[in-house]
Amino acid sequence: MAEAIGLCRPEVICAYPITPQTHIVEGLGEMVRTGEITKCEFINVESEFAALSVAIGASAAGARAYTATASQGLLYMAEAVYNASGLGLPIVMTLGNRAIGAPINIWNDHSDAMAVADSGWMQLFAETNQEAADLHIQAFRLAEELSMPVMVCVDGFILTHAVERVDIPEQAEVDAYLPPYEPVQVLDPQDPISIGAMVGPDAFTEVRYLQHYKQTLALRLIPEYAAAFKKQFGRDSGGLLRSYRCEDAELIVVAMGSVNGTIKDTIDEMRADGLSVGLVTLVSFRPFPTAALREKLVRARNVVVIEKSLAVGMGGPLANNVDLALRNVGGAPQVHSVIAGLGGRPITKASLHRVLRGAFVQPWEGSHFLDLNEKIVAKELHYVRKVRRSGPTAENLLRRLGQAEKAAV
């Protein structure tokens, strides 16, 4: 990923270390030092808040700026996240998707992306490391064309720490695809402007509306740039979404990120058993491709949304977004929510078989938590009902697990 980003000729790179993105930034730092990346300033910042702030200053002054973070770091820079999009700065950021604490957890899920999904940044989810590399190249072009920042979401550890076959393009190819940054607005003593004034009730709605409108423009540009990418580099990467074996599917799965690979293997096995199932892989989460998704889903009987995120108190945020695509559509499929992989719990083919085959037989209401340890949950609920000051949940569960282990010995 560092190589792909390096090929995009970033001019200011500023990032703060956090698992699982550290080696991407370290790689870039090395490349700047050795001169593999030229005309680039690499700044070691003291916090994620500083990281995005430095990128904001650099971008506003006309430089192509890049940063990377995850989870806690993203939240620490949350104020700046909204600031960057509100100011219309085309910063590209790698988000190494990781769970948000408490409880502290360094493994993969999509809660960090979900926390800022409505901030005005575009969010693209990579399925493979190849796509992760490719999406960064597309992201810079997209961000700079629309004057709007983009997050490239890459599953922490599962993709960030995996070694797999990736085709790194040539500099000339990337240069042909990604022109130099020509800002829409820039700080320049030759032509001074003031950026970032307070906007009152008289104009705030219009500013927000225009941001929203720009994302609808992105709905057209994203497929356009993916097509141009295919033309330049010779492979499919990016776009709004893609489908797998959906043509006649009775049940369609919707998911984002690396889990799509495992789902495809599962679907092939189910198809071999005569089950009519397909998959829609969502690449662009923001802008949310409502129309394109509706077109794919409308003829199915059931839709199962599998997501690595949970809106505590509501259910699955991705499922909620998918509902939007089918709102007010007569005869629309039923949507069923699966919450899986939280905090890095592996999503296995076996479990997918269980839940998807189950969906054919008995679709459920509400969110189904894949591989939930019902026994431990029941024990905790029982304990909490008995004891008023029952202590922190995570520690209680650990104690129970410890007791279980002792009992087993």
Binding site: T19, P20, I106, W107, F157, I158, H161, A162, V163, E164, R165, S258, V259, N260, G261, T262, K264, D265, G344, P346, I347, T348, K349, A350
Partner: protein
């Protein structure tokens, strides 16, 4: 698809082993995927890494639950965790040790697997001899190449050369070759 699971402890190069294996397969024109079981960096803690090799695109992302081969870099792990969990009936087991299978209490396991699929290799000793440090991963990959025939020794060597500076690479290749030859020799003896 061939799935390899590598067990060891932090600091023994378990993650690197999986990566080198995947690169070796890639150099032979195969598709490969390598990833570790993730956790905070900590010396001495049990570590698992995974490598998948296939002739077509690998889409699966789950941890390897049913490996076709197990490489065990540290035999003390047998007492700590169920190392062999999920190992396929026709699978391979390669253990870094200068002791016999019997001494390692692995006879029962070996009986359940095809003859010649379970092997010990004194990889740490070979590493000490050729590299000067008891990092058994390169030697184990050399032994693995001979044991399974899944990849060529020269691919392992090329992967090592790609990953390390010249001198270190040469030393590791020597260790890998020695292990490869040791397995070949044992085979020859068994056949005779």
């Amino acid at each position: 698809m061939f799935q390899v699971r590598i067990h060891g402890r932090g600091g023994q190069g378990v993650v690197t082993a999986a990566e080198l294996l995947s690169v070796a397969a890639y150099l032979e024109g195969k598709h490969a995927q390598a990833f570790p079981s993730f956790g905070s960096e900590r010396m001495g803690a049990p570590v698992v890494s995974f490598c998948r090799i296939d002739d077509k695109e690998i889409r699966l992302r789950e941890p390897i639950l049913e490996p076709d081969a197990l490489i065990v870099q540290d035999p003390t792990l047998f007492k700590a965790i169920d190392v062999c969990q999920g190992l396929k009936p026709g699978g391979y087991l390669l253990v870094n040790s200068n002791r016999s299978l019997t001494d390692l209490h692995l006879d029962a396991v070996a009986k359940q697997l095809p003859a010649g699929h379970v092997l010990t290799v004194p990889a740490s000793e070979l590493a000490l001899k050729h590299v000067g440090r008891p990092l058994p991963n390169a030697a184990l990959l050399g032994a693995f190449a001979r044991l399974t025939g899944l990849i060529q020794l020269q691919s392992v060597a090329a992967a090592i050369r790609d990953a390390f500076p010249e001198k270190i690479a040469a030393a590791n290749i020597a260790a890998a070759t020695a292990a490869y030859d040791a397995v070949a020799g044992a085979d020859a003896n068994a056949a005779a």
